[in-house]
Symmetry: C2
DNA sequence: GCATATATATCGTACTACGACATATATCAA
DNA sequence: TTGATATATGTCGTAGTACGATATATATGC
């Protein structure tokens, strides 16, 4: 379905712009929902990453950094804020004392549960639209 | 397919966490690509929004703000940076002198074209994975 | 032709990630 | 073991960007 010349059409730019707009709206929705619960967006995502972490080993500062695509020392700071706000407890790993294992507090569980329900509902609305945009872009190039 | 209780399972958190991770990777890819071209991520997205803008009327500061979901005066500042860097020209609208119409410079066209090609290629890779994650989440709740 | 609304602009502030650097613990080779 | 190097986390100052508060110019409606 791709045209022979590898030039871009107005429709290509428009489709990509629409994708960004759709993503932005989701991110904006998410940030607002988190803010209403008193959580900055990054802290919410950290909680989700910790809660959603699957694996034998517990979540650590470094693993969180990888999951959030931030530098390890940025993860340290983020966790510092979460601990200060009472959302996360941090204890030294028994087998490797350099590592800090992270656990959600009851307070975090409650808030995250509410937020997750809201988000899944929002995604139910968003997904069809997003899938269409992605299909359009896939068809191209 | 929803369970009777409206409780969330570990798999729900994990799926949502995976979605965020996937989105982050795309955003990170995009920011890196833009940075390589010397553009901060927000400036890249502004250029895309201007170029991808469809409609009879030209893009303005206010319309850009709406499209990027930022406050009008943040749009002013963003455009200020773009003009300073030679990516955008700003001229007063003839019919409404309050408005500033925005146009991409040749420099911006060249850079944005390269970035857009790269992005469409990346989306071709990303889309199937993202669509699967979205489908999983849709099935739920 | 005044009152109000709209569009854009300016300036100081706050938040957060980063770079540079530091410390503690592990690991590995000799 | 010991020492060298790597890994994990932590600290502090800096920079970038969006915002709030506020200001100005132009439109619009009565």
């Amino acid at each position: 379905m791709r045209r022979l010349e590898d030039e871009l059409t107005d429709a290509d730019y428009e489709a990509l712009s629409n994708l960004r707009y759709t993503l932005r709206r989701f991110i904006d929705f998410s940030a607002s929902a988190a803010q209403q619960e008193g959580l900055p967006a990054q802290q919410h995502q950290a909680l989700l990453a910790i809660r959603g972490h699957r694996g034998i080993e517990a979540m650590t500062i470094g693993a969180l950094a990888e999951r959030l695509l931030i530098a390890p020392h940025s993860s340290t700071e983020l966790v510092g804020r979460l601990v200060a706000a009472g959302y996360v407890s941090r204890t030294a790993d028994l087998t490797d004392k350099r590592k800090q294992t992270l656990t959600l507090t009851e307070k975090a569980d409650v808030v995250l549960k509410r937020l997750t329900k809201t988000h899944i509902a929002e995604i139910k609305e968003l997904a069809p639209r997003l899938i269409n945009i992605l299909r359009d872009l896939q068809r191209d190039l």
